[in-house]
């Protein structure tokens, strides 16, 4: 696969075209109809939730949120392959992978409503909390990879970053360490063409991102990230190889951030309508839907029904999150150290004294 789609020649791996027609039979993954339908449903659920959140945000019911809109196939494919025992090291724009891990929408809501409790991920194993400092999490992934190898575990790490993140030194150091250590980490770059307002060509003069694997002696591949099957096939392939001890891999998933960077961003400032429309034609859900409809596995009506059902579910979880208990003072203090140092206890105590004083003044 890596020879056939050599990033040095800037080749991109894809399987279906923009109309959902399979153009690369050789690599079409062996998926049952049910699996494909489930994949589509998962993506649809993620998209429904994502779009809802943006509207909650407009209503002032949640803070800044980074939409996944248009990038769902990437996290979807990883989510379908990743097992409970595998590790997910997320950035912040891969909701489908969180959900696949067992994170609930409610938790995601809690996080963006401003509760650290949203990172508890009670039903999910082996997933790190969202990492805000760009690319820094890639090193954590390499370290987890080391632990897996050290303890000879049957696990793989899936780590995410954006195209902007590839410019950070930590990106380089992580791939370099993982390469030297030869650890089972799949490094996925969601190249959505922008880092906030900054276009890909300002991030790097390199032909593509997959090619950067060469610098670390590892394999890399550039994949059409809006093509669910291509993403699935690529992730499946490197997962198998990683389990065999064939080391880390770099997947560049080419996609487009159809929404704003976050709800406080306005993309019209830095990109054109034409560009957006060009990418609309490659929408990952449209493409997979077309595939399914052609195979008579899906109908528009079914989709409508499902979406309204999903919306209700999203609303339900959102309301649960909105009714989450108030944030206790203790929670601001208790997780810094295993045992709270005396000084910190004193700080809390003094603050409580102030709060009492404030109470009495009312």
């Amino acid at each position: 696969m890596f020879k056939e789609y050599d990033p040095i020649e800037d080749k991109m791996f894809n399987i279906i075209d923009d109309k959902g027609v399979v153009v690369n039979k050789k690599w079409m993954p062996k998926l049952s109809d049910e699996q494909i339908v489930k994949a589509y449903k998962d993506m649809l659920f993620a998209r429904t939730a994502d779009l809802q959140i943006v509207s909650y945000q407009r209503q002032g019911r949640i803070y800044t949120y980074p939409p996944n809109y248009g990038q769902e196939a990437i996290a979807g494919a990883v989510g379908a392959i990743m097992r409970d025992e595998d590790w997910l090291v997320p950035a912040f724009r891969e909701m489908g992978a969180y959900l696949a891990k067992g994170v609930t929408l409610k938790e995601i809501f809690l996080y963006f409503m401003g509760y650290e409790d949203g990172s508890l991920f009670k039903g999910a194993k082996n997933i790190l909390p969202m990492s805000v400092p760009i690319a820094s999490q890639y090193l954590h992934a390499a370290g987890i990879g080391y632990e897996i190898k050290y303890n000879k575990k049957d696990q793989v790490v899936y780590a995410f970053v954006g195209d902007g993140g590839t410019s950070e030194g930590d990106f380089h150091e992580a791939l370099n360490f993982a390469g030297v250590w030869n650890v089972p980490v799949v490094f996925i770059v969601q190249n959505n063409q922008y880092g906030i307002s900054t276009p890909f060509k300002v991030q790097t003069a390199s032909k593509n991102i997959a090619i950067k694997s060469v610098a670390y002696g590892i394999e890399g591949i550039k994949v059409d990230g809006n093509d669910y099957f291509a993403m699935y096939a690529a992730v499946e392939n490197v997962t198998k190889l990683a389990k065999e001890g064939k080391g880390p891999f770099l997947i560049e998933a080419v996609t487009y951030r159809k929404g704003a960077h976050t709800t406080s961003d306005d993309p019209t400032k830095y990109r054109t309508k034409e560009e957006e429309e060009d990418w609309d034609k490659k929408d990952p859900l449209d493409r997979l839907r077309a595939f399914l409809i052609a195979k008579k596995l899906w109908t528009v009506k079914e989709e409508e029904k499902l979406v309204s059902q999903y919306k209700k579910e999203v609303d339900r979880q959102f309301e649960e999150a909105e009714n989450y208990p108030a944030y206790p003072l203790d929670d601001a203090f208790q997780f810094l150290y295993e045992e709270m140092p005396d000084d910190l206890k004193k700080q809390k105590f003094e603050h409580e004294k102030f709060l009492q004083w404030k109470e009495t003044r009312k």
């Binding site: 803070y63 800044t64 996080y111 409503m113 401003g114 509760y115 650290e116 805000v132 400092p133 760009i134 690319a135 902007g164 993140g165 410019s167 950070e168 030194g169 930590d170 880092g195 906030i196 307002s197 900054t198 300002v202 991030q203 790097t204 406080s264 961003d265 400032k269 830095y270 108030a326 944030y327 003072l329 929670d331 601001a332 203090f333 810094l336 000084d343 910190l344 700080q347 809390k348 603050h351 102030f354 004083w357 404030k358 003044r361």
Partner: protein
Amino acid sequence: MEGDKKMKIMNMVNALNDAFDIELKDDKNVVIYGEDVGVEGGVFRVTEGLQKKYGKERVFDSPLAESAIVGTAVGMAAAGLRPVVEMQFSGFAYPAFNQIISHAARMRNRSRGRYQTPIVIRMPYGGGINALEHHSESMEAIYGHMPGVKVVIPSTPHDAKGLMISAIESNDTVIFMEPKRIYRAIKQEVSEDKFSIPIGKANVISSGTDITVVAYGSMVREVQKAMVLAKEAGISVELIDLRSIYPIDRDTIAASVKKTGRIVTVTESPKSFGVASEITQIVNEEAFLNLEAPPARVTGFDTIVPLPKGEHHYLISPEKIFYEIEKTVKY
């Protein structure tokens, strides 16, 4: 140092933008870059419109890499440019820590004065904007402790403009921390002319007799709110806005405490090893015999600033400042 006053209502964003505009016009060596500062004009729009006016060579977007942003600025500055670079939030300046402490702060010393690094490293800092983790930090003390840099923190639009002009014209590296919480919250008349405010001199915002309160940046406004409560309680507060924490204006602080005998320092940062402790050390050194109460501090906790739903626990309220003022006065 103010010129003929053509006054205009500005918020801090406008005032900073105006300072850049003036400096870009006056000095071809000034360049501005960082993440999203060019086309978009910065996530807070502080550099809005400047790329259009001065071109892509002078105001531009960089790749996403803070160490590189500062590190390349060190090279540019050694070669004669005067870069003004932005760290998108102070919480994202840490990847650049090595370039700041090891190079921007030291190049002149290392080269015995041959090379200098007239760099302004801008960074919005502080909490109160309902942000994600890392977007609310106030770690100015670590820069204050770093030999070779100046650390400037304005509290008003007027000061922001005058201090930024000084910072850009300084031949030293200046860490310029911008209180993002009041970027647009305070509006005032600011001269459209070029004027500068010296770095290293504190500003006595209001004089008083019972107690000295030292603050800077976004805390100044909170202290002013607390002063309303203090006034009601019959306490006369002398408010000192440091404007820069390094160099720090020992004399102004000392003179004030010699008069009032009492002092509270207000900062948003974690408590231990923060700016307040340094102020306390200074007044102990300079005005020990005048002290009628222990120099106090109102600060954040030694914790991470909580996410929005918990941030009110951390943030400093005017009541809390008043509480400490009253305690110190009653001591």
